[in-house]
Structure formats: C-alpha cells, structure tokens
C-alpha cells in the first residue's frame, strides 16, 4: 500500500515535469517559427518575384529604388530627370498594354513572339519603362534590364510606406505601423492611467467594504468581455461620437482605438494598482496619521510613494495589453497605414495589420514573410514590456525588518 502510494507520487511528479517541459518547448518553438518565417524576407528582390523592369538601351538609369518604382507606376514621377536620367517623359508599360503597341499578327498565334515584340517596342520608345515577366526579357532581349534591388533591414525598419500589394514593387516599411501601434497604445494608457489610478485609490483607501465588494467583481467583469464586443461598441457608439464631436470626415481614428483600449486596459490597471496600494503596511499609514497628517495627505505622501513601483507595473501591464490587442483596434481605428501626426487620424497597428492581411498573403511570399516579421516586432515589444515589469517589481522597496 505504502509502495503503491510512492509510485503514484513518482508518476504524478513525472507527469507535472513532462507537461511543464512540453509547454515550455512549445512556446520556444512558436517563437523560433515566428523568427524563421520572418527572416526570409531580407534578400528577396524588391519587385514582384519572377518579374523584371526594363528600359530603353540608351536610358542612363541603372537602378531605381522601390519607392521610385512605386511612384513611377502611380504616375507621381513622370519624367526621367526626377530619378537621375535625361529629361524625357516616362511611359509606363505593363504586359496588358502590349496590344496598344503590337497587332495580333505580330504577336503570333500562340503569343510566342512576345519577347521580340517587347524588344522592338522598347527600342522604339526611348522613355518607356516596362514591367514584364522574366521569361519575356531573356535571350535576345535588346532592352536594358534594371538592376534588381533587395529588401534590406533598413528599407523594412526605416521604410515609411506600407503597401504590401503594390505592383510592381510592394512597399514594406513598418514605420507607420509601429508609430500607429505606439500612438494608439500610449493614447490608451494616457486615458486609462488617471482613471484607473483614481478607481484603485478609491477602492483601496476610500470605499467602504460593501462598495468595494460590489465594485471589484464589476471591474473584473470588464476584463471578461470579448474584444470584438468592445470593437462593435466602439464602432457603433464611440466612432460616430468622435466624428461629430471633432467635426471629422471619418470617426475611425486613433483616438477611437485609444478610448476602447483604455476601457479594455482598465481592469488590469485597477486590479494591479489596487493590490499595490493595499499592500502599503498599515503601520506606515498609521504613523503618518499619528503625526497629524490627514487621510488625503497620507495617501498622497506615503501610500502613493510606497506603491509607486506597483502602480508603474500596472501602467506597463496596461500598455502591454494595449499593444497586443487586435480585434477592437482593427474595427475602430480606420487602418490607414500612414505615419500619424495627431490622434484624430486613422491609423493602423501591427496586430491589426497581421489580422487583416495574413489571409490574403500567399504563403511563402514576401508579403507573408513581412507579416511574420511584424509578428516578431510585436513579440519583441511585448517582451520588452514584460521585462520592464519584472525590473520594476524587483525595485519594490523592502522593509528591513
């Protein structure tokens, strides 16, 4: 009997150990997978894979940046002079346009004369830039192929444009997304912290036991509402309010996201800050009162300084919650990938981008990998947040006795 118990205990220990080990392993593998999928982006050609850009042989331009390519094909750059060439109008050529330059007979019955036609069209139009599949610009091609650029960490992390589906040159610049994420999160914490702190102080110091007992579950209930419900509420209530209140053309702005996130971060902030405040030793509060301080002076000068690390932890955890939040933000921020200047503009956050775009990004393509890299950035951001919480909590003042 005793022996059986011993064996059972040993088994229980093993089971716990194995499950702990497996869980840790899975987490590590997920992180590794994230980085592996994302790392492939760098070194990929900066135009669509399998395509090339070609110009007239006499054109002095050798290379174009992804941004120049995009602007040329968007019609924003119309003269070669703007990209370092001779003064000559740019003629954009896509494969679809070939029927404007060649007859059906010239192209041949099976369209197998396309390469020859391309060479001819390019040599006839000195200002032309052609965006065509690689195989049409291979052997015997008389035009000049522009040098292939590569997606570099610099263009990714420093890029100010996010147009992942732009043709021919998709733009993977994460600055607007990072900025959007930070703006929305910081806005949220700026709104949530004063209110959260006020509620925490009220609950910990001022409210009677009965009010506290009613309030605490109510606050915790807030944490249990699914984020899509918050998003829906935001879309139906907050967005129109902001649109009308500020007289904006659209109400889907960073502010709407911040407000919703603030409400979502409140339970975290309140709970953590309240615990910190309640942890102030009773004796410390009493000695303040015994010196003739009023209750409010005691809160402001003793309780808050004592719990400042806990309150900071609450704020940082709130930020962490805000940074990672996806659905509600996706629904109310308008999702324009532009570097924001005020909270009253539409913005797009990293998680919202991943959620919105992963479904349409072909697996293994540059867009797909760029989204995984976004995931890595998000991971690093939240990791930094959790580490700073650890760091702050470690600095908690210690009683020596």
């Amino acid at each position: 009997m005793k022996r059986l118990k011993k064996i059972a205990e040993a088994i229980a220990e093993r089971v716990l150990m194995v499950s702990g080990f497996i869980t840790s392993l899975v987490i590590v593998l997920i992180v590794l997978f994230l980085f592996r999928e994302g790392a492939g982006l760098f070194g990929k050609p900066d135009v669509e894979e399998g395509y090339v850009l070609a110009v007239n042989r006499k054109n002095p331009v050798e290379k174009l940046s992804p941004r120049q390519i995009m602007e040329i094909f968007d019609g924003e750059i119309t003269d070669w002079k703007q990209v370092g060439g001779a003064e000559e109008g740019i003629v954009v050529f896509r494969l679809n346009d070939i029927t404007d330059y060649a007859t059906e007979e010239e192209l041949g019955p099976e369209l197998d004369s396309i390469p020859q036609c391309l060479s001819r069209i390019l040599s006839e139009n000195s200002g032309m830039i052609a965006y065509v599949p690689k195989q049409y610009a291979a052997d015997g091609f008389t035009g000049k192929r522009l040098a292939e650029g590569k997606i570099t960490p610099r263009s990714f992390f420093g890029g100010r444009e996010w147009y992942p589906t732009a043709q021919p040159s998709p733009q993977f610049g994460v600055v607007p997304l990072i900025m959007g994420t930070l703006w929305v999160s910081l806005g949220a914490i700026l709104i949530a912290l004063p209110f959260g702190l006020a509620v925490a102080i009220y609950m910990a110091e001022l409210a009677g036991e009965r009010i506290r007992r009613a309030l605490k579950p109510a606050v915790e209930l807030l944490a249990g509402i699914p984020s899509v419900v918050y998003g829906f509420f935001g879309l139906v209530v907050v967005v129109p309010l902001i649109q009308r209140g500020f007289g904006l053309p659209v109400g889907e702005t960073g502010l709407a996201g911040s407000l919703i996130l603030a409400v979502m971060a409140l339970p975290t902030i309140i709970t953590v800050a309240e615990d910190a405040i309640r942890n102030t030793p009773r004796a410390m509060k009493e000695s303040s009162l015994a010196l003739g301080a009023t209750h409010w002076q005691t809160i402001r000068r003793v309780v808050l300084p004592y719990s400042v690390s806990g309150i900071t932890a609450a704020a940082v955890l709130g930020i962490g919650r805000a940074i990672g939040e996806t659905m509600a933000v996706l629904m109310v921020t308008g999702n324009a990938a532009v570097i924001p200047h005020t909270l009253l503009e539409p913005m797009r956050t990293i998680p919202a981008t991943i959620a919105a775009e992963l479904g349409e990004a072909p697996s293994g393509g540059a867009h797909y990998e760029a989204l995984f890299l976004l995931g890595c950035i998000l991971f690093v951001l939240t990791l930094a947040v959790s580490l700073s919480v650890e760091f702050i909590s470690a600095r908690r003042p210690k009683q020596t006795i």
Binding site: E209, P281, A283, M284, E286, S287, S288, L289, A290, L291, G292, A293, T294, Q297, R301, V302, P305, Y306, P397, K398, Q399, T400, I401
Partner: protein
C-alpha cells in the same frame, strides 16, 4: 517644553460586539513614564491607541467613558483629531520609516502640518534627530533612504519623526520588541532622557524593560485594569495576586 497629564475615567471600549476594555480609570501625571503591561489581548495596546484616537480607524470601534488630556475631553465634539495627534505622538512596534530620505522622514510631520520655512524645517530636523540620539550617526547621510539604516536606527528615526512635531505626550507601542539587545538598550536610554520633556506611555511585554524605564506601571488583564501603582511597588509588593503571578512570570 510643556508636558501634559492624561486621565481616563470609566472607559469601556468595544470592537463591534467584543468588549476590549472594561471600566478602566487611570491618571497619568506630567513628565512620568507609565508602563502598560499584561498578557497579549489584555487591552493594553487598545488603551494606548485610545489616547491619540488611533482606534477611530477601525470600523465598529466604540468608546464609552471619558478620556482627557490636560483636562480636555479628547473625544469631545469640537476636537480636531489632527490637532490631537500632533500633541500626542506615537511610536509603533516595528520601525516603519516612510519610503523617503532620512531627512524627509523627520520633516514629514512638519510638512503635513504646513511648515514651509526651510530653515525652520532644517533646524527642527536636527533638533529631533539629536533628541532621538541619532544625529551623530546620520548627519552625513541625511539624503539617503531611511531603509538603509539598521533596525535600531530606524526605530530611533521613528522616534525623531514623532518628536519633530513637538508633541507633549509620547505613546510607545512595544518600541523595542523588534530590536536586538544593543538597540533596545539605546532606545531605553533614550526613553529615560525623553522623560524630562515628555509624558510617556509605553506598552511592553518585557518585564525588565518596564521595571527599568517606568515610574508607574499599570497591569491589565482581560480588559480590566487590575493594578496601577509605582513601578517599584508593582514589581516588589503588588497588592493583587494576579499581578504578582504575572510579573514573576507564572503566566502570560
């Protein structure tokens, strides 16, 4: 410095339904040290905390009877609790400095009471630290955190903090119970010094300490004041058997 006398008359005290003090009447004279002794839960701490109305903070606490300081009813309608607590300082069982610098700990009571003048604050801090026999040890590190001090130094800092608001009465709730013997003896010497300028009431579990520092001793048992007399008499010829048993260590 002006000191004060304390008087309690027919005091009953309740925590909700529990009666913590039964008909306690006690007179304490100016410039004396009164020790309150008795086993745990006998009501001695409750009595001490009555004197600066610290028990007000406890929900359901209720007092019957009359407590006066210098003849003034401290539970009267027009009493400002904040003013009372300035007059009746308190030192707690565990050293509990604020999470501030040594200087700010002592200056705290002045600041919350609206003293703004920097010179006044500086000189009062020094005076209080000297009064608590701590000045020489900390005068070069006033800006350092109070948590860096040893337990005994922290407790003397707490005494200095209480002295800074210039009370006339000092309440001490087992002020040396968390300290080592060396620190304890320093605190005891200090109490002896402070007696010249303050009326002191001290709760202690330590019989020797009560015998060493106090002029008068009150023995509490089960919420009642069993005996109150000169310390010498309590420890040598107590009138009550219960007192005799307690001070000789037969129970408690």
């Amino acid at each position: 410095m002006e000191t004060s006398s304390i008087s309690a008359k027919d005091v009953n005290f309740y925590y909700g339904d529990f009666q913590a003090l039964r008909n306690v009447s006690l007179e304490m004279e100016r410039n004396t040290v009164t020790a309150l002794i008795g086993p745990s839960g006998c009501g001695k701490s409750t009595f001490l905390r009555l004197l600066n109305r610290m028990n007000d903070l406890i929900p359901g606490a209720r007092l019957e009877g009359k407590v006066t300081v210098d003849g003034e009813d401290i539970y009267g309608k027009n009493v400002q609790v904040v003013e009372l607590r300035k007059k009746v300082g308190m030192v707690f069982q565990k050293p509990n400095p604020f999470p501030k610098s040594i200087f700010e700990n002592v200056a705290y009571g002045l600041r919350v009471n609206g003293v703004r003048d920097r010179e006044t604050i500086r000189s009062r801090v020094e005076e209080s630290l000297r009064g608590a026999a701590l000045w020489e040890e900390v005068k070069d590190k006033l800006k350092r955190s109070a948590f860096e001090l040893s337990g005994g130094q922290q407790q003397r800092l707490c005494i200095a903090r209480a002295l800074a608001v210039q009370p006339s009465i000092l309440l001490m709730d087992e002020p040396a119970s968390a300290l080592d013997p060396v620190s304890t003896s320093k605190v005891e010497d200090l109490i002896y010094e402070l007696k010249k300028n303050y009326t002191i009431v001290i709760v202690t579990h330590n019989m020797q300490q009560a015998a060493r520092v106090s002029d008068r001793t009150a023995f509490f048992y089960l919420g009642k004041l069993v005996e109150y007399d000169r310390t010498e008499k309590i420890f040598t010829h107590p009138s009550e058997e219960a007192t005799q048993n307690y001070v000789t260590g037969r129970f408690g």
